[in-house]
């Protein structure tokens, strides 16, 4: 992780104790036209474009209360600065959880993961933050607090600000309070893994997931040195390109049946599946969640593609950097790659000239999750194209943040 001061040009940092204080700070900043950089746990400040204008840091760590937790309704209302671990600890008391894998959970805040729309391997079975935020409060760029949604799991009153703010990188409003729907913790969890010699072999196994009768929580393809000697997956011998990993969760009989069914299914396809030992299961989930932020790769990208096209895209990345680390949420068509070599011509050129067109060819897109020289990157390189809806996004931004103060210059807007 890069130091805060290197990432944000801050003149000062304020830490409001509650929503009212936060609103007042933003109002004053609006009058003075001071840019504002919301800071949750500081774990994703290298996500997005590097800001160029000095501004005010708005530390959210003071807003961390649990407002209401009616466990029988399976909803929880919390302030946005709560850390993911603290949220998980509250929910664990009632054997519930937010079933989304998030890196740096001890530090990352809920508001931050919503603003960045972070998700992980369990996306296949459980979706993303977009599916769990049912109520939201935020302070827009003029210092006006607004709410959307509510505290009930089914609600279509008004426009869905929960969706609009998820993934908006705090550019429409500083998220202050959130209501989530949560789920019961599953009784049991297990993995089936199968090493593969090449991408074609991986694709055969992954394609078989289309017809499987099992209900996986995660369908992953792991490639590269980071996974070559994993405690749960064992040593990957030379000549094998990676490992397909499928995670199951549910009751003990459900999981046992699904493990044995997939085992047999992959055997029939000529694979050699193994069950990950029970005592390694939790560790593997953690490593899957931590992958994008671990280590010191020069560039981390995330592609969203049609699932059937992930292998083609991965082949292209491996040509650019044969020793890169890859975690593909293959069932969903996501590819996260950590690259350290990218040839000559500059990193923006690589992204705009090679990786983005390759993703577009598969109906997808590429964004940059982090880069160790952020100032070198262009908007097009980091976010790609917003397509023909870009002008609507910019119009929404203008109406929620007319002076362009919130995370100025960091998101996908043009200009």
């Amino acid at each position: 992780m890069i130091a805060l001061t290197e990432l944000l040009p801050l003149s000062d940092t304020l830490t409001p104790a509650d929503q009212a204080e936060l609103t007042q700070i933003v109002r004053e900043a609006y009058v003075d036209a001071t840019p504002i950089y919301p800071i949750g746990g500081g774990t994703s400040l290298d996500f997005g474009l590097a800001p160029r204008d000095a501004g005010l840091g708005l530390a959210m760590r003071g807003l961390k209360r649990v407002i209401d937790y009616p466990a029988r309704d399976m909803t929880i209302t919390v302030e946005a600065g709560i850390t993911i671990d603290a949220l998980a600890a509250s929910l664990a008391k009632e054997r519930q959880w937010l079933p989304i894998d998030l890196p740096n959970a001890h530090q990352a805040t809920l508001g931050g993961v919503i603003a960045t729309n972070t998700y992980g391997a369990r996306r296949y079975g459980n979706g993303t933050m977009r599916d769990y935020v049912i109520g939201i409060a935020a302070v827009d760029g003029r210092g006006s607090m607004f709410h959307g949604g509510g505290r009930v799991v089914k609600n279509v009153a008004g426009y869905d600000f929960c969706k609009l703010l998820t993934g908006s990188l705090g550019t429409l409003g500083v998220i202050t309070q959130v209501t989530l729907k949560v789920k019961p913790r599953p009784e049991c969890s297990r993995f089936v893994a199968c090493r593969v010699r090449n991408l074609q072999a991986a694709d055969r196994l992954l394609e078989s997931m289309v017809t499987t009768r099992t209900m996986p929580a995660a369908v992953e393809l792991l490639i590269g040195p980071a996974w070559q000697n994993d405690a749960a997956l064992g040593q990957l011998p030379a000549g094998e390109i990676g490992v397909v990993v499928v995670g199951f969760e549910g009751t003990e009989p459900e999981v046992a049946w699904m493990v044995s069914t997939l085992f047999n299914q992959w055997h029939r396809l000529g694979g050699n599946p193994v069950a990950v030992p029970d005592d390694q299961t939790e560790g593997l989930w953690t490593r899957l969640a931590q992958f994008p932020v671990e280590g010191s790769a020069a560039l981390v990208i995330k592609a969203s593609l049609r699932p059937s096209r992930t292998q083609n895209f991965i082949a292209g990345i491996l040509q650019i950097d044969p020793s890169c680390d890859i975690q593909s949420h293959a069932g969903n068509g996501n590819v996260i790659a950590r690259l350290s070599q990218f040839g000559s011509g500059g990193i923006s050129n690589l992204l705009v000239g090679a990786l983005q067109p390759a993703a577009v060819e598969h109906d997808g897109k590429v964004i940059v999750l982090s880069y160790n020289q952020p100032s070198e990157l262009t908007r097009q390189a980091v976010w790609g194209s917003t397509g023909d809806a870009g002008s609507i996004m910019e119009e929404i931004k203008r109406r929620f943040d007319p002076k362009n103060l919130l995370n100025r210059g960091r998101f996908a807007y043009a200009g």
Binding site: M145, V152, A157, T166, R213, T251, P307, A412
Partner: protein
């Protein structure tokens, strides 16, 4: 619309969609004067049936050129007046855009045009091992475009979520006539989540002309049970107990005695007519875990006072049971000439409280109320029975509805779980949201729909209807139609 403008517009619309794609005679237009919310009605000036996205865009441009409002409509099954043509103008009926353009199992999506009836997609998917999960009760008639506009739910929302959880992307015509695509066959949109903004926007931000929808693997099996209760409270408590035990059923529906009688008369399922409530409970997933879940649910039902718990003995009985549930609203026709279905939501744990309050409110206003609930997610559908020929009865029904929905808000809930605000519930928006919230919603709407010509006077109490102004004054028709108190009632 002025008498001088209309003939020109009709001619130009015929130029876009052909002679048979335009209705302009009053007798034809009456069919389109309302949706399932029958209390307020207004005829459009012209109805047009496009077959392509480009035709929709051309129609929108023509409406803009003539300065008249326009409103999209699917099958017209919505229940809050979402496609009521306030101010007249052009109604764009999308039912001729009914192609399923692609089904892609490997990548788990389908591309559908907006006029595809919800149930058609699942018929097309039969035998593939996949289905489209959102299943509103009107799925035999409602269109997927309409589902996208209202973010519809259905009995299986509890486990599988509402429409927005299953929409990957949309192609839409913006109010200025541009065609845009947001999202698509892959899972993450670039930039802001405009798919999330458009789904559920009740046709006020854009007209959806195509949708990429997520396909869901069929569960290997299911168990369907029927808990029979002597009290609504016991049935309501069972819901909390099941969820509290960590079981998320695929569906958890409640019917009270009033509706049970109507359903039994219609379908002869064999429901015990003396029961005060029944719970329809379904769990699905891999076979291996289902018997254990079923046993646990039966145990919890009995613990909460169920006098018996039946199981659907085969697929045919399960289908009949679901038919009874899904056509419950139709069966209400046996009870009274007219009915008004409400769509409140409360936290699940407040179901016993709201059930009691609904009974009290019914007694207070001398209105007979029967109930069918998506109880698992707290979405209640009290059905208020009346005779629309009697204005006094209508006033009592409206007053009782208002009190029920106010109580939902007091419980921390919402006035709509799946049917939307439309024109019916605009008066509740200020009760649920602050002035700042509504201002923010207005700003979002203006970003898409700055002239207010698309679906004016819907959803937001301040919803600008610039397109309906004449010489700087609001259009007379709009004001008459939108006034609280309901023209039909008066």
């Amino acid at each position: 619309m002025s008498a001088a403008t209309l003939p020109n517009l009709v001619d130009e619309l015929r130029g876009v969609v052909g002679f048979d794609g335009v209705l302009a005679a009053h007798a034809d237009l009456v069919v389109y004067e309302c949706d399932g919310f029958v209390i307020e009605k207004n005829c459009p000036d012209v109805v047009v049936f496009p077959r392509t996205s480009q035709q929709v865009a051309d129609i929108v441009r023509l409406a803009n050129k003539h300065g008249v409002p326009f409103v999209p409509r699917g099958a017209g099954t919505s229940l809050a007046g979402g496609c009521l043509p306030v101010g007249g103008g052009v109604m764009i009926v999308l039912t001729r855009m009914k192609a399923i353009e692609e089904i892609n199992l490997r990548d788990r999506y389908a591309i559908v045009q907006p006029g595809v009836v919800n149930a058609w997609l699942n018929q097309a998917l039969k035998g593939t091992g996949y289905h489209y999960a959102p299943d509103p009760s009107s799925q035999g008639a409602c269109t997927i475009g309409g589902n996208v506009a209202t973010n519809s739910g259905g009995p299986h929302t509890l486990k599988y979520g509402v429409t927005v959880n299953h929409v990957l992307g949309v192609e839409a015509v913006l109010p200025d006539g541009r065609i845009v695509q947001v999202g698509g066959p892959t899972e993450d949109s670039a930039g802001l989540d405009l798919v999330g903004a458009i789904v559920g926007s009740e046709g006020t931000l854009a007209i959806v002309t195509k949708a990429w929808v997520r396909l869901t693997r069929d569960p290997e099996g299911c168990r369907t049970m029927l808990g029979v209760y002597d009290s609504v409270d016991d049935a309501s408590n069972t819901i909390s107990e099941i969820i509290g035990a960590g079981i998320i059923p695929a569906a958890l529906e409640m019917m009270d005695q009033g509706i049970l009688v109507a359903v039994e008369q219609a379908f002869n399922f064999g429901f015990p007519l003396d029961a005060q409530a029944i719970l329809l409970i379904e769990v699905d997933g891999v076979e291996a875990g289902l018997d254990a879940q079923r046993d646990r649910i039966i145990e919890l039902c009995k613990k909460c006072g169920a006098r018996e718990v039946r199981q659907a003995k085969d697929a045919a009985e399960r289908l009949l049971l679901w038919k009874c549930r899904k056509q419950a609203f139709g069966a209400v026709g046996r009870l009274s000439p007219s009915y008004c279905t409400q769509d409140g939501v409360v936290p699940r744990t407040k179901l016993p409280h709201i059930s009691r309050r609904i009974r009290e409110i019914g007694e207070k206003y001398s209105v007979r109320i029967v109930n069918v609930f998506h109880a698992g997610d707290g979405n209640i559908h009290p059905i208020l029975l009346f005779d629309e020929r009697d204005p006094e009865q209508i006033m009592r029904v409206l007053a009782a509805s208002t009190e029920i929905l106010d109580e939902c808000i007091n419980c921390g809930g919402s006035v709509t779980g799946e049917h939307g605000i439309g024109v019916e519930k605009i008066g509740f928006m200020h009760k649920m949201f602050t002035i700042e919230d509504i201002d923010a919603m207005e700003r979002l709407r203006m970003a898409f729909n700055p002239d207010g010509r698309l679906s004016p006077c819907k959803m937001l109490p301040t919803a600008g209807a610039c397109g309906m102004e004449q010489n700087g004054k609001p259009h007379e028709k709009a004001i008459v139609q939108i006034r609280p108190g309901r023209r039909a009632a008066l």
